[in-house]
Subunit: 246 residues, 2 copies
């Protein structure tokens, strides 16, 4: 087994936010495996095979990638953002754990990238300047009760909260439920930022407060940041001071 597998993230969208290490890994691969729109961000190369799939069936995609690597190919599994944050890296290791024992001997690497919340934060200032949490609101893979428990803990700990996957056509109600729960603990004046297409040329920000935030402005490309008690506006920016004393 002289194949290899590297899991990469293309960053939030703009090519300039993909790391050089990821570009090199993509250039060396014989096979690319990933969700179609992420593969579309990768320049085409001769003799490189592409295995595009839809956005579900992450485990199947991971197994395909591992099988190709076990056959001796050099496989890059392509995520958006950072591959370790709500993306393909965990699916690859889950497939290793539950799959062919020989896969454990493969050369497997993960290349870090710029995850969506960092790009979203940069669009508005420095809202993640203090302690923060990242929570995926998708309940495809975990119970809504688990999500509620984490939202409650994050609010009680006065963390800044980054909400990934806040809404999709199949799940319009999660963000409404999350905001309702957060309103029972955090102040109504807490800044809430809806950042759409962060780190792309189409980036858009809607700034609101927890009391009046309208969840219907979020879609699949939106990341939502809910501030801590110290998160504040200054001019057109929002930031969380490093110090709690201010």
């Amino acid at each position: 087994m002289n194949g290899s597998l590297v899991v990469v993230g293309t960053g939030p969208g703009k090519a300039e936010l993909m790391t050089a290490a990821t570009q090199t890994a993509l250039a060396r691969a014989t096979d690319l495996v990933g969700y179609g729109p992420y593969l579309d961000r990768v320049p085409r190369r001769r003799h490189q095979r592409r295995h595009a799939s839809d956005n579900r069936a992450e485990l199947d995609r991971a197994r395909l990638a591992l099988s190709l690597a076990a056959e001796g190919h050099h496989v890059a599994v392509v995520s958006g953002g950072d591959p370790g944050v709500f993306a393909m890296a965990a699916a690859v290791f889950e497939a290793v754990e539950t799959g062919d024992p020989a896969w454990r001997r493969l050369d497997i690497r993960v290349e870090p990238g710029v995850t969506a919340m960092l790009a979203a934060a940069a669009e508005v200032g420095a809202p993640l300047g203090g302690d923060f949490c990242a929570i995926s609101l998708s309940d495809n893979l975990k119970a809504w009760g688990t999500i509620e428990r984490r939202l409650k803990a994050a609010a009680e700990g006065d963390f800044v909260i980054a909400l990934y996957n806040p809404a999709s056509k199949a799940r319009p109600h999660q963000l409404l439920g999350a905001l309702k729960l957060l309103r029972t603990i955090k102040a109504a004046a807490t800044p809430v930022l809806f950042v759409r297409a962060a780190g792309t040329r189409e980036a858009e920000v809607i700034a609101a407060s927890l009391g009046d935030a309208d969840p219907s402005v979020a879609d699949m490309r939106t990341l939502v940041i809910v501030g801590a008690s110290t998160t504040r506006r200054v001019g057109r920016w929002v930031y969380t001071p490093r110090s709690e004393a201010r």
Copy 2:
């Protein structure tokens, strides 16, 4: 005021993990402001001035940068990692809030980067594959009671926890205190990863469990990741499944 200010992060260390957008911003700057070791990662250019400082006095450094921009210079404030995560971006906006009102009209931007916890996670697999928190253990800027409250909330929410600034010569006791607190809530078998110099050629990983983790192995260059209840080992990797059901 035709100057500008961009806050950038050089990533975890290896040049290949700095984004192209950050390299471009650095190349365009007339003035670089930052902590000496981060400036040392930036290639020298003729006619570009460097204003190196020590690691403290972040607000003073931010004010210097804003003053230079207000004089018409194109200033890059240089952090490590991502500038919005326990780094200079929040200090810049804090200086704007408390400083010369004219600074609010400046052209200020933040460029996202690869923060340490993403590089640390990539070194070991995908430990941040589920919901996670980032907490700085430095009590220079916040009370230890606040840190304890957040550790407790993060443990009760069963988040994966990334601990930034776990220890320094001036603060050897924080990590011991944090691990002791986490042991009262999380299982002794919970994976704990000490990742030193993640995203550099000298990266080193010490894998332990919460019950036997020795805080003295951490230093200023270490990032500590404490797993959730589902975080597990497979072969030489550690990951957190996206699903809680497994």
